[in-house]
Subunit: 372 residues, 2 copies
């Protein structure tokens, strides 16, 4: 860490991070142009080397507070590829049989679980037992019960449990939340969250009920759920939902294709949301208040996020979400930093409870009361 080479390397990474993401709000990164980051670096092993794991690994190359140092995978050839690509030493490589021994590895601080949804629960419990901090992709689990068990296990093991809500650190999103908190929209009346895309390969795990725990709701609809909460600043108290399925061959029993759902909030505000695996062009948030509005479209894609309010275009910088997320998560783990919108397990359990309520509302056709 103290060698000249490390210094230059960090300087280079920092400059790249600034190029990709002029993080005006993150003074630590800014200062780094003048002086290298001297704080503790979160050393992360990624579990699950699929497409999203790869995206996170790439994004982490621009981090200064977090560093990819290890991998956990069931596929030896992938491990080999990643080792050479990211300079990962053999001693930090694990498979699903032996990764519990990670507890004896002093060079790894945290494991980022990016497996199929249904495996999160078991894997997180093992990581917690190994005494490592946990970052878990969303949805944290396939139901609230499992989610709560994960929260409890991490608490018991005295490790942090953070969930991969990358939008919680996105600058335009944070600006809308700041405007709401400062009253610039007036009383909030309505939120709309439309999240979806047309999914490809019908054989992928995301369309397998056993592995995904559901369909579009688990993967993309959760953004509308979570967004409705951080955009309005309230948690819903009731939900109604309507499911439609045009392709029962591709979207089998228990795998939702399209669900519309509506929330009511304690203030009287309402939300209109949509989750789909069968349509493109749907990635829009809209927040309406008595004094103004915010629109974000795209609102949760990998970027660039675009938005405007009644005051004009949102001009906050375009960032690589996963880079900023990992920088901020390092600060949460080591500096106990409090993010504007929580990313902990308790927060994620709420989304799981809401998903269960949506599924119940869609199934019964009745309004379901939500108790978080």
């Amino acid at each position: 860490m103290n060698s000249r080479r490390d210094f230059l390397q960090k300087l280079g990474i920092s400059a790249l991070a600034l190029h990709l993401a002029p993080l005006s709000g993150w003074t630590a990164s800014k200062n780094n142009v003048e002086a290298p980051y001297e704080g503790r670096v979160l050393r992360v092993a990624i579990m699950g080397l699929g497409s999203y794991g790869t995206r996170v690994a790439e994004a982490m190359q621009s981090c200064v507070k977090a560093k990819l140092v290890g991998v956990i995978s069931g596929t030896p050839s992938k491990i080999k590829d990643w080792q050479s690509k990211y300079g990962i030493p053999a001693k930090n490589c694990y498979n699903y049989e032996n990764f519990d021994s990670i507890k004896n590895n002093p060079d790894i601080d945290a494991v980022y679980v990016i497996t199929p949804n249904a495996l999160h629960h078991g894997m997180v419990l093992r990581v917690a037992k190994a005494g490592k901090h946990v970052i878990c992709e969303k949805p944290m689990a396939i139901n609230a019960k499992e989610g709560q068990e994960m929260v409890d296990a991490c608490k018991k093991a005295n490790v942090k449990l953070l969930v991969g809500y990358r939008m919680h650190f996105e600058p335009k999103t944070l600006e809308v939340i700041r405007m709401r908190n400062s009253g610039e929209f007036g009383k909030i009346l309505f939120f709309q969250g439309q999240c979806g895309f047309k999914i490809g390969d019908p054989t992928q795990w995301r369309l397998n009920k056993q592995l995904a725990g559901g369909g579009s709701m688990m993967d993309i609809g959760i953004y509308a759920i979570n967004g409705s909460r951080y955009m309005t600043g309230e948690d819903p108290v009731w939900v109604t939902a309507q499911e439609t399925k045009t392709d029962p061959e591709k979207f089998k029993e228990g795998v939702d294709e399209t669900i519309q759902f509506q929330f009511g909030f304690p203030s009287g505000a309402t939300a209109s949301c949509l989750s789909t695996y069968n349509m493109n062009n749907l990635d829009r948030f809209f927040l309406d208040g008595e004094k103004g509005f915010a629109e974000m479209w795209p609102s949760t894609g990998y970027g660039p996020i675009q938005g405007r309010t009644h005051k004009g275009e949102l001009t906050q910088p375009v960032t690589t979400h996963q880079t900023v997320q990992m920088e901020e998560m390092a600060a949460i783990v080591f500096d106990n930093k409090q993010p504007v919108v929580p990313v902990n397990g308790e927060e994620a359990v709420k989304d799981l409870k809401i998903i269960e309520a949506i599924y119940q509302a869609a199934k019964t056709g009745s309004k379901v009361v939500i108790s978080l």
Copy 2:
């Protein structure tokens, strides 16, 4: 009509119409720059001299195929004002007691009924009985039964019954419909119609169940209903709906404040709609297909309408909707012109049936099958 003064006047009106509305699609108006309109002019009496009646009268000043020639009102002072403002002869002025004698007036072809909703039914029946063509503001009636009686009465009297669906003649709207018909969006999957505004004066007739027949749905929600039909090109077969009310003092029993509703269409497409009297910034249509999308925002306000598709901005001319509507309705009455989207009574009855289904769905909380 043949005097030099008439000629110049018409030329002036025509030039004004072109200035306000470069009607590239309406060749009759275009040709008029070179030669005055020689066809038959629809001579209209307006019934109900309120704010919307005034808007229509102003817009008609730019018409060449239609002309405001008479008034029907219960307020003598209003009649006097209109007489002097629009040059209306005393013989073409009526009140609600004596207007049945309009049947003996050879200088009036049609009556445009712009009274509170609940009065449409009775008034249209009287106009039909007087043998005059009818233009009726939307909603045509406060329920489908009355609407059908109006259709039947006009048929029996052999007069036309047209409903004030001004958006059916709006150029950007027609371009989206043209693109849909030519397959440019591919298979249609989804429509969103958000229509609403924050209504003012709590004492106005629009918030009186007896006069309005309902609340926001009757006035502004109907645009989302009608829009879902002309944008998708299908009629809905089921609806679910959720009503919320935050101000029961202003929005009394039977006067809906905010209703969300969802449609299913025969093709499998769905719609997500919202009708409200309690929020601004909601005037948006969104059409999503397998190959592309259209967004209109504002979509049904008095203008200017703005829109874009996956191919770029919609650049069709900004028009004064009521001017174009009256020009086109003159052609429908005298030339039997077939509009791209029907504006007849049968079309309007469908919207009333759908409104009844929405109210039922909101009340019962159950999915309601729609049979048109």
